[in-house]
């Protein structure tokens, strides 16, 4: 398989980045060091190339209904310039993917949306939208624009000032999850006050041909996927393909701790199954934990109770650069999910004591 390259691939290489495969893309994992990049985002500002994320454009008289019936949140609440986090579920209510849905300005008088599925899932999402549009006889145009868009995230306490200055102040009034078109160095960028780090900041979408211009205009610490992972984990954000996976770890949004994305008063694929789960409750749920003993939890490690019986699995884990403590996420039966509960994580054959913690692990915006 050939890996896709972000438009700034060569630029990153020249800057000394190390690369890793992620979702079929060859992405920078580290520019300087994960800890340096992580600290820049917590204390100052950092910029991430997230062009591996997908972009699906949906417009037409029935665009709102199509979006409503294929995502879990209530799309009708979105006015132009609003966005929301949502999941895409199957008939059983199992998460296929998670996404952010942006409502763009109307095009040709019709409601218009852009949603951002995870790396490598854009083609499946596009097919899913087209298939259901045809099945339901809805009038909407669905375009996969993943290759046309580049995307960067500028995150950190000083990120708003940096972006506002570059955009001549036009984004200063945006609240969380609000977005607008802003011009940066002559390039029109869809600029949203969203992110995946727990810090304030923006995510910007713009034509991939302009990637170097925007990257250069928003000059701050370049950050790779390594720091993106430690930052999102401290903030308690789940990662598709890791904290849930349609094939290897199928989960409902309630199990995954993102039930807030489910608007049961709307009609969408998986809604009835999720209403039943909401009614009956879950057997297992994703919890945050901190390791008390020395060690680093990793994806796939067993979680046991204090008797040593395996009760769950670690889905994400790292040494938190901010807390200098080992933290992680994993699924456990609900009777072990209360904060303060003592668990064990099996690290290379040895049981290490852990404690269930509330997430986020740090203060976030």
């Amino acid at each position: 398989m050939t890996l896709s390259k972000p438009p700034l691939w060569e630029h990153h290489g020249d800057r000394g980045a190390k690369f890793t495969e992620f979702g079929g893309w060859d992405m920078p994992v580290e520019f300087d060091s994960i800890q340096t990049e992580h600290a820049a985002v917590r204390d100052d500002a950092g910029i991430f190339d997230v062009s591996h994320m997908g972009q699906i454009h949906v417009t037409g008289p029935d665009a709102t209904e199509l979006m409503q019936r294929l995502t879990s949140n209530d799309v009708t609440r979105l006015e132009v310039g609003d966005s929301q986090y949502a999941v895409i579920t199957d008939e059983e209510g199992v998460i296929v993917d998670d996404t952010v849905v942006y409502r763009l300005p109307d095009e040709d008088g019709e409601p218009t949306y852009l949603f951002v599925p995870n790396a490598g899932t854009d083609e499946a999402a596009h097919e899913r939208w087209i298939g259901h549009r045809n099945e339901w006889g809805l009038e909407a145009t669905v375009d996969n624009r993943t290759d046309e868009y580049a995307m960067v995230a500028v995150q950190g306490p000083n990120a708003p000032d940096l972006v506002e200055e570059a955009a001549d102040g036009s984004v200063a009034d945006l609240g969380r999850f609000e977005a607008t078109y802003a011009t940066i160095d002559g390039v029109e960028c869809w600029t949203a006050r969203t992110g995946y780090t727990g810090e304030d900041g923006f995510e910007l979408l713009f034509p991939s041909t302009e990637a170097e211009r925007i990257w250069t205009a928003l000059d701050c610490q370049p950050c790779g996927l390594g720091a993106r992972d430690t930052l999102r984990l401290e903030a308690g954000f789940v990662l598709a393909g890791q904290d849930f996976d349609y094939e290897s770890n199928p989960r409902t949004p309630y199990e995954a701790g993102i039930g807030f994305t489910v608007a049961l008063d709307t009609e969408f694929v998986g809604r009835d199954a999720l209403a039943a789960v909401d009614d009956e409750g879950v057997d297992e749920q994703l919890v945050g934990f901190q390791l008390i003993d020395r060690g680093v939890p990793r994806h796939g490690y067993d979680i046991t109770n204090t008797d040593g019986r395996v009760i769950g699995t670690v889905t994400s884990g790292t040494m938190s650069p901010t807390l200098e403590q080992s933290i992680g996420l994993g699924y456990v039966p609900v009777e072990y999910a209360d904060p303060g509960t003592t668990l064990q994580v099996v690290v290379r054959g040895r049981s290490k004591k852990a404690r269930v913690e509330t997430t986020p692990f740090i203060d976030t915006v």
């Binding site: 060091s33 994960i34 390594g226 680093v296 790292t318 040494m319």
Partner: protein
């Protein structure tokens, strides 16, 4: 990118270095290895007095992104471990051939070092 490879010591293909002084062999990992690992956050070593076999695992090093086993360059008894690394594992990144050393082995047979790579041979391996 170029890496330090001091020629006063021997090297393993698995990226440990071994520096002998009067039958005692000090062990660490190379500049190349610490760069590949990135930020080192955790080390696990044997206890003083433990016996090690050449080429056998003696410990673990973890960075934020990876876990790696450590291998003994010679057989012998562990006579010292660098406990500073438990609180400051970043020393491995900052000074892999100096303050980032890991342990000292009283070698059963210091001639075992002859089986390891020279600095020039190791440089060729990582080139």
């Amino acid at each position: 990118m170029s890496f330090d490879t001091p020629d006063d010591r021997r090297y393993m293909e698995s990226h440990e270095w071994a520096l002998e002084d009067d039958g005692v062999v000090r062990v660490g990992i190379t500049d190349f290895a610490q760069d590949e690992l990135g930020d080192v956050v955790f080390v696990e070593f044997p206890d003083e007095g433990d016996a090690l076999e050449q080429d056998a695992e003696f410990g673990v090093i973890e960075s934020i992104k990876a876990v790696s086993d450590l291998y003994a360059p010679v057989s012998g008894e562990v006579v010292a471990i660098n406990e500073e690394l438990f609180d400051a594992p970043e020393l491995v990144n900052e000074d892999p051939f100096g303050d980032g050393w890991m342990l000292e082995i009283d070698a059963d047979d210091a001639d075992e070092l002859e089986e390891l790579l020279s600095a020039a041979e190791y440089e060729e391996q990582i080139a």
